[in-house]
C-alpha cells in the first residue's frame, strides 16, 4: 500500500494540477508529495509496515534496506527542491499554467526515480531509468531558451543511446542466464554461479556503459555539464542530487551479481579506472571554467568518480558509498539551490560577472561559501570522512600508489572550486540592482547544511548501525 502510494500519488496529483491549473491545487501537489514521501520513508525507518498491496505490485516493487536509504536521500533532496521551487516561481513570475506544467513534470520525474529505487526486476528498473530521461528532458527545456534546447537535445540523445546499449546488456544477460529464466534480482543473486561468466562480463560491459552514461561518469559525461547548467536551478539540484544516485543504484544492484558469482575483480577494475578518470576530467576542466553552474556539474562528475572508487574497494567500500551518497546529494543540492539565488541576483552564469556577493546578499554569500566547503570536504562535513576513508582503504588494500593521483586531483579540484567561489563572494565591484529574495530561497539550504553538520560531527548511532547492517547484508 505504501509503495503504491508513493508510485501513484505523484501521477494523480500531477495530473490534477495539470488539469485544474489552480493555485491551491498546485501548492498541495508540490508540497504534499514530498510530505507523503517523508511519511512513508519514516514509516519504513520505524519498521511500521502496512502490507496491503496487490500481488503483482509487491512482486515487482519492494523496499529493501538499501532502497530505503536511497529513497530517504531522495526524499530529503526533493523536499528542499519543492520548497525552493516556490521561490523559483516568484523569481520568474510564472503564470499558473507554467507552474502546473512544471509541477506535473517534476512529480512524474520523481515518480520515475522512485520506480528505479524500488524495482526488483532488472528490466523494470531499466524501464524506469528510461522514464527518468523522458520526464527530465522536458524539465531541462523548461525555460524555453535556445541554449536549454541544445542541452536538452544532447541529454535526450546521448542518454537514449546509452540506455539502448544497457538494453542490449540486459538481453545478453538473459542469454547468459538461460537456465535461470528470470531477471528478478533475487533469482539472479541466488543462482549467480549458474550464469555463464563470459557472457555475464560482456553483458555487464554494456549495462555499465548504459547506466554509466546516465550517472555521468567519465568518459560518458558529455551531456552532464550542459544539462545541469541549463536546467532551472531546482531541477539541476534534483538531477545532480537524486538522478545520478538512482542510476548508481542500478549499477550497484547489477554489480551484486558479480559479488555473488565471485567475479567482482572484473567489475572492480572497471569501477576503479572510470572513477579515477572522472577525477581527472574534473580536475582538468575545473581550472578553466567560466560558468559557475558548469563548475558544480563537473564537481558532480568528480563525486560520482569517488563513489565508483569506493564501490571498487569491496566490503569497506559499501559504507563509504552510502556515506558519500548522502553527503554529496545534500551538499550539491544546497549549492545548486544557492546558485539559483545568484543567477537571480546577477542575471548571469559567468563567474566573472559575479563579485561582492557577501555585500550584496550576505545570506546567499555565506550559504555559497559554506556549501562549497561542504562539497570539497572540509572537516567537519561528511565528505571529508568519506574521502578520508577512501584513502585509508586504498592504503590498507595495498593500492598505496593510487593515493598520489588521488590527492593530486583533489587538490586541483579544491583549488579550482574555492578560487571561483571566493572570487564571487568577495571583491569590490558594486553592482546596483536590488532584487529581493523570499525566505524559501534560503531555508532549504540552511536545513541541508545543518543536517550535514550533525552527521559530520556526530553520526547518529542508529544511522551508523543501519549503514553497517546494509554493508553486512550485502557482503
Amino acid at each position: 500500500m505504501m509503495i503504491s502510494l508513493v508510485l501513484l500519488l505523484p501521477i494523480l496529483l500531477g495530473l490534477l494540477s495539470y488539469i485544474t491549473k489552480n493555485k491551491v491545487v498546485n501548492r498541495i501537489a508540490l508540497l504534499g508529495t514530498p510530505l507523503v514521501n517523508i511519511l512513508v520513508a519514516s514509516a519504513y525507518w520505524f519498521n511500521y509496515q502496512w502490507d496491503w498491496a496487490p500481488g503483482w505490485l509487491s512482486e515487482y516493487f519492494r523496499v529493501d534496506s538499501i532502497g530505503l536509504y536511497f529513497f530517504s536521500v531522495m526524499t530529503i533532496v526533493f523536499s528542499s527542491v519543492a520548497i525552493y521551487s516556490l521561490s523559483y516561481f516568484k523569481q520568474h513570475n510564472f503564470s499558473l499554467k507554467q507552474e502546473s506544467v512544471y509541477i506535473f513534470e517534476i512529480l512524474l520525474f520523481v515518480m520515475a526515480m522512485t520506480g528505479v529505487i524500488m524495482a526488483t526486476h532488472l528490466a523494470l528498473l531499466w524501464v524506469f531509468v528510461e522514464a527518468t530521461t523522458l520526464t527530465s528532458a522536458l524539465l531541462i527545456y523548461f525555460e524555453k531558451k535556445k541554449s536549454s534546447l541544445e542541452a536538452a537535445w544532447k541529454y535526450v540523445y546521448i542518454c537514449s543511446i546509452g540506455i539502448t546499449l544497457a538494453f542490449v546488456g540486459i538481453i545478453l544477460l538473459s542469454i547468459a542466464s538461460r537456465s535461470i529464466d528470470s531477471l528478478f534480482f533475487t533469482d539472479l543473486y541466488k543462482r549467480a554461479s549458474e550464469i555463464n561468466p563470459f557472457w555475464l562480463k560482456i553483458a555487464f560491459a554494456f549495462i555499465f556503459v548504459g547506466l554509466g552514461t546516465k550517472i555521468g561518469i567519465a568518459p560518458f559525461h558529455a551531456w552532464l555539464p550542459d544539462a545541469h547548467s541549463e536546467a532551472p536551478s531546482p531541477v539541476s539540484a534534483l538531477l545532480s542530487g537524486t538522478l545520478l544516485n538512482t542510476a548508481f543504484l542500478g549499477i550497484f544492484r547489477v554489480q551484486e551479481i558479480f559479488v555473488f558469482a565471485d567475479l567482482e575483480s572484473f567489475s572492480n577494475f572497471l569501477f576503479l579506472g572510470t572513477g579515477f578518470l572522472s577525477l581527472m576530467v574534473c580536475s582538468v576542466f575545473i581550472l578553466r571554467l567560466k560558468n559557475y553552474k558548469r563548475m558544480l556539474a563537473y564537481s558532480s562528475i568528480e563525486n560520482m568518480g569517488l563513489l565508483f572508487i569506493a564501490l571498487s574497494l569491496g566490503k569497506t567500500g559499501i559504507f563509504i558509498v552510502l556515506l558519500q551518497v548522502l553527503a554529496h546529494s545534500l551538499s550539491k543540492t544546497s549549492l545548486f539551490l544557492t546558485s539559483g539565488n545568484i543567477l537571480y541576483l546577477y542575471k548571469s552564469k559567468k563567474i566573472d560577472d559575479v563579485s561582492c556577493l557577501l555585500k550584496k546578499d550576505p545570506r546567499t554569500g555565506w550559504l555559497w561559501i559554506i556549501s562549497m566547503l561542504a562539497i570539497i570536504g572540509m572537516p567537519p562535513f561528511p565528505v571529508f570522512l568519506s574521502k578520508f576513508l577512501i584513502v585509508k582503504a586504498l592504503w590498507t588494500q595495498g593500492l598505496t600508489w593510487l593515493t598520489i593521483p588521488f590527492f593530486l586531483f583533489l587538490v586541483i579540484i579544491t583549488y579550482g572550486m574555492s578560487r571561483a567561489v571566493f572570487n564571487m563572494a568577495f571583491g569590490d565591484k558594486e553592482n546596483l540592482t536590488h532584487n529581493k529574495l523570499t525566505y524559501t530561497a534560503y531555508l532549504p539550504q540552511i536545513v541541508l547544511l545543518i543536517i550535514l553538520l550533525v552527521i559530520g560531527i556526530n553520526l547518529p548511532r542508529e544511522m551508523l548501525n543501519f549503514i553497517n547492517s546494509i554493508a553486512g547484508l550485502i557482503n
Binding site: 535556445k146 537514449s160 542490449v168
Partner: protein, 211 residues
C-alpha cells in the same frame, strides 16, 4: 525463409551506407519494419498468440507505417533533401560497412561456440545493425539522420531481442516501448523545436555549450 529475411535486413544497412538522400533512409526504415514483421509472424511460435499479435501489429503499424510516414512528413515540411558531406566519404564508409559485417559475423560464429544456444545469423546481423548505426550516427551531420540511425539501432536491438523471444517475451515488449516513446514522442518534439529555433537541423549549430 527466415534466413533470407535476415540477410535482406543486413543488406539494407549496406544500402544506407551508400545513399545520401534522406528519403531513401526513411524508405529503408519502413522496409526494415516490414522485414521484422515477417520475421515475427514466421519465426516465433512458442509464445501466446496475443503476444505475437501485439508484436506483429507493433512492427507493421509503428515501425513500418507510422514512424516512416511521420518522418517523411517532417522531411517534406522542412524541405530536407539530402545529407551534407559526411565526415568520412561515401566510398570509405561503405568499406567500413563491409568491415563491420565481417567483424559481426566472425564475432557471432565465435560466440555461438560458447554453448548458449545463439543463432549466429540472428546474432551477427543484429550486431551489424547496432554497430553500423552507431558508426553512421558518428559520421553523419544532420539531426534528422541521427534520428533515423537511432531508429535503425532500435531495429537491430529488436532483432537481438527476438532471439530470446521464446524465453522472455517480456523483453521484446519492453523494447517496443522504448521505440514508441523515444522515437515518436520526444525526438519529434525536439526535432521540430530545433528546426524552428536554429533554422536548419545541422549538428554544427549546436555548439553554444562547451568548455
Amino acid at each position: 525463409m527466415t534466413d533470407i529475411l535476415i540477410i535482406l535486413l543486413g543488406t539494407t544497412m549496406l544500402y544506407v551506407f551508400a545513399v545520401s538522400r534522406i528519403e531513401a533512409y526513411v524508405k529503408t526504415l519502413a522496409f526494415q519494419g516490414v522485414l521484422l514483421f515477417l520475421l515475427v509472424i514466421i519465426d516465433i511460435k512458442q509464445i501466446y498468440w496475443f503476444n505475437i499479435a501485439f508484436l506483429g501489429i507493433e512492427t507493421l503499424a509503428i515501425k513500418a507505417i507510422i514512424i516512416p510516414y511521420f518522418l517523411l512528413k517532417v522531411i517534406r515540411k522542412n524541405e530536407i533533401v539530402r545529407e551534407v558531406e559526411p565526415f568520412i566519404t561515401q566510398f570509405y564508409s561503405l568499406l567500413i560497412g563491409v568491415l563491420i559485417f565481417i567483424f559481426g559475423f566472425i564475432a557471432a560464429f565465435w560466440a555461438s561456440k560458447t554453448n548458449t544456444g545463439i543463432k549466429p545469423l540472428y546474432f551477427g546481423t543484429s550486431l551489424v545493425l547496432i554497430i553500423a548505426s552507431l558508426f553512421l550516427i558518428v559520421n553523419r551531420k544532420k539531426i534528422i539522420t541521427h534520428i533515423l540511425c537511432y531508429l535503425m539501432l532500435e531495429n537491430g536491438i529488436f532483432l537481438l531481442s527476438l532471439s530470446v523471444a521464446n524465453e522472455m517475451p517480456m523483453l521484446v515488449n519492453i523494447g517496443v516501448l522504448l521505440d514508441f516513446f523515444v522515437g515518436v514522442y520526444l525526438f519529434a518534439i525536439f526535432f521540430n523545436k530545433i528546426h524552428e529555433m536554429y533554422d536548419g537541423g545541422h549538428i554544427d549549430v549546436l555548439t553554444e555549450l562547451k568548455d
